[in-house]
Amino acid sequence: MRIYPASHYTMGGLWVDYNLESTIAGLFVAGEANFSDHGANRLGASALMQGLADGYFVIPYTLGNYLAGTKFEPVTEDHPEARAAKADVENRIKRLLSLNGKRTVMDFHRELGKLMWEYCGMGRTREGLQTALEKIPALRAEFWEDAIVPGVNEELNQSLEYAGRVADFLEIGELMCLDALEREESCGAHFRQEYQTEDGEALRDDVNFSHVAAWEYTGEGTRPNRHIEPLEFEYVALATRSYK
């Protein structure tokens, strides 16, 4: 058995309000797909904790309330936005299936994984993250030129599904590096090597970074916008957690 340390969570998810409703009315996000209760560092069993807390204590009330208090008009697939979304998906699938290059999707996945491990793993530096931010877009461009996606759309196609996921990973990986670069402190599972105490512990910057950040998608190939929401502590004073 091989044992090695690994980061196992992005520490993020979709931004929701206290009712677990996203910025899209009626779209509720539960479990670890949302912002995540555990904050900057996730420990084992956090998935269960959040799934149970959201599923037992929040969603039954807030979703029921939404359903009871909302008037639903009939919707059709003819809405221009629905048609545009459908066309987008169809184009994306067509584009993926037309890829007939030289490298398998798994090969790209592994290379991305190595980049993330090297530059956005347990220890991150400004220089490393900047390197990753050059390499990932280049890898993404190569993926959309040189990947092989076999099969057809009309039957079960696991290769197509996998290619869609890796295409997403190539975007979220870049975003994670961008986020890690912007957060100039060490906090939770985010350890920037430039920001550490003399004995190698994480050094937080509560003056400039006591906030959560959410990135707004602004379209393919353009830089997303960073929004922040300050963390306000009313009953607990911020302190450094020491395991020593």
Partner: protein
């Protein structure tokens, strides 16, 4: 090591399937079984051939979705081990490995090694639940449960619903699965209110899904990755017989 695979290939539920032979050279014994299939698929993709469809996700032995029949044994040669936790060190250089999907009328093939296990979901939906409210559990001391029953319920609850029991049974019976799902509730006071209607409804659904009946072969327990005991089938039978002695209407009324 070098292996020769014989893999069941089937386009979809309607098409006819067949074994296709693939040479799998340079396989590391440290690989997991699914990783070996990944490697074979990578080579197929580079040769512009259709990769083998197989179910897989976390590879942590939690759900058994990966389950396939390897050399005639559900989940392969290792006892109490799901396919995803099987490693190639369980095989020898030069081995011929026959890989096929769960075979049962109630589990139609989706593609190659993937089957649709929706029949299990429908059995659960027929009665595999309790009406006790969640989120407001009573104090544990207020509801004494014997250690023996708590342990037996826990053992039954170890069932991950993978379907290996069905694949191993000469009758393609789902009795071990259904029995485990009934026993985990009927052994505890929380499962008592729906006890009789639950067993009736779940058995009825099991029959409707075209699973076979149990004729006490015990093959299911032998391949179960969680070692769920056939004793649970005896529990199911006892409850089922008793439920038939209670008037249908009364049972339905009790279930609300």
């Amino acid at each position: 090591m070098n292996l020769t695979l014989h893999v069941w290939r089937q386009k979809d539920g309607k098409s006819k399937g067949q074994f296709v032979k693939y040479e799998a050279p340079d396989i590391s014994e440290d690989m997991s079984f699914l990783e070996m299939l990944d490697v074979v698929n990578e080579r197929l993709i580079l040769r512009r051939e259709d990769p083998i469809a197989f179910d897989h996700d976390c590879r942590e032995g939690i759900c058994g979705t990966c389950g396939v029949v390897v050399n005639g044994r559900a989940h392969g040669p290792r006892e109490r081990t799901t396919c995803c936790q099987l490693h190639m060190r369980s095989f020898r250089d030069g081995d011929h490995v026959w890989i096929e999907p769960w075979r049962a009328k109630a589990f139609p093939v989706v593609k190659d090694l993937i089957v649709d296990r929706g029949a299990f979901d429908r059995i659960i939906a027929a009665g595999g639940f309790i009406s006790a409210p969640t989120g407001s559990a009573v104090d544990a001391n207020a509801m004494p449960i014997s250690k023996e029953n708590a342990d037996l319920a826990m053992d039954a609850a170890a069932c991950i619903g993978c379907g290996a029991c069905v694949a191993a049974c000469p009758n393609a019976s789902a009795m071990l699965f259904t029995a485990a799902k009934i026993a985990q509730l009927s052994l505890l006071p929380q499962g008592e209110p729906e006890r009789w209607i639950r067993v009736k409804r779940m058995v009825r659904q099991m029959d409707a899904e075209a699973f076979g009946n149990c004729t006490n072969h015990g093959e299911c327990e032998a391949v179960c990755p969680k070692a769920v005991s056939v004793d649970n089938i005896a529990r199911l039978n006892r409850d089922y017989i008793r439920s038939s002695l209670i008037a249908e209407r009364r049972v339905e009324a009790a279930a609300g």
